[in-house]
Subunit: 129 residues, 4 copies
Amino acid sequence: MIEVPIHIRWRDVDLYGHVNNAVYLTYLEEARDRWVETTLPGTNFVIVRIAIDYRRELSLEDEDVVVTCRGVGYGTSSIRTAEQVIAKAGWVAAEAESVIVAHDEASRQARPLTDAERALLDQAIAASA
Amino acid sequence: MIEVPIHIRWRDVDLYGHVNNAVYLTYLEEARDRWVETTLPGTNFVIVRIAIDYRRELSLEDEDVVVTCRGVGYGTSSIRTAEQVIAKAGWVAAEAESVIVAHDEASRQARPLTDAERALLDQAIAASA
Amino acid sequence: MIEVPIHIRWRDVDLYGHVNNAVYLTYLEEARDRWVETTLPGTNFVIVRIAIDYRRELSLEDEDVVVTCRGVGYGTSSIRTAEQVIAKAGWVAAEAESVIVAHDEASRQARPLTDAERALLDQAIAASA
Amino acid sequence: MIEVPIHIRWRDVDLYGHVNNAVYLTYLEEARDRWVETTLPGTNFVIVRIAIDYRRELSLEDEDVVVTCRGVGYGTSSIRTAEQVIAKAGWVAAEAESVIVAHDEASRQARPLTDAERALLDQAIAASA
């Protein structure tokens, strides 16, 4: 599991005084990218699905969050990850599940995971279970 | 159903040359806000869940999208909407389902939908079914 | 001179209820990119300076702006442009002057303007004077 | 002088592979806000001018920057600050000068600086000279 600290910027907050819903995906992205880089160095991917539950508002006063990402499973070309956005005070601001697919840059198409990638994923998923 | 045209900005695109995944939520927000304003004038809400399926990449060459939003159901305080991001050329770039809750600004808490709001929702959901 | 209409998005506005200062640069970028594409098709550039005067706040109620961009001069490798952000109601929300330089993508370095580019710039500057 | 560390996010980077020009203003804002909070606690302000010179591209590989902000002068209601965006490796990515004005939230108008504010500014400017 990866943990990435993120500082809440003034620009992240909207007129309602809380971190805007779209910005949470930017936060998730920081952790997911790091998780892929660490777990599958050199693998390119694109996102095909994100489901996010907003549990509690974040505001500037919360200052910092930690975003966690771990692998939870995989298919032929897809990988499922689970993320949490956790306020500095310890409570969960949001929980998400994402699906990414291995991506061939040249063709801009999804491609099957290789055996080497599957082995690394097995390891990473087992380690965070 | 609401349809909102959105122009893709240079800033919406990331290093991969496509509209960034978080920006889709900004696009959805434009349509959902308009749908609520139209359907339930004066009602404040916050988002509690979004599930988005990214169907196809959008790039600067696609220039414009139309985002649609319609109501699909409601509970005690929650409303379910369905959104689509449609490229100018007619194909679907993303589909989403969102859950919002009526929100009391003073207490910053969810509140039950009123009978008047339920009547307006019944109408809107029937009209887009 | 180029005129680009831009719709103000909910995400463009910050906690103060006005379009955030950084977002104005995103608005300017839309017009400047279009001006370069129109005036110097195929020329890559990077920005080296922007000076922006914020004349008046923009809010969601203003709905749309028009951003104008015109050429005002050039040097060995640099081009000076002037931009305005104009509210739908006709008043000026911001005025800016920018300096861009022709850019060689391979070396990621500034390069001198070609004679052909200078001729096109002379024409464009004369036309908007 | 205030120094604020900022982590470069994937979302900060555009199709050109560098931190987008508008995002620099978000970086500056983090430092300027902190400088005002520290120097003039409780004072609200709005930005009326920013002039920014982009000295060198920042990319994801640069990972982190430090943004500095210091006071350089003031007028009847305006305050002039100077900012720098400095790469982790020590080089200057951008330099900016900004003008902010004290702002009355109720009337949404500029207001004169008070004697107490002037005294605090004299101190801060002297300390960073």
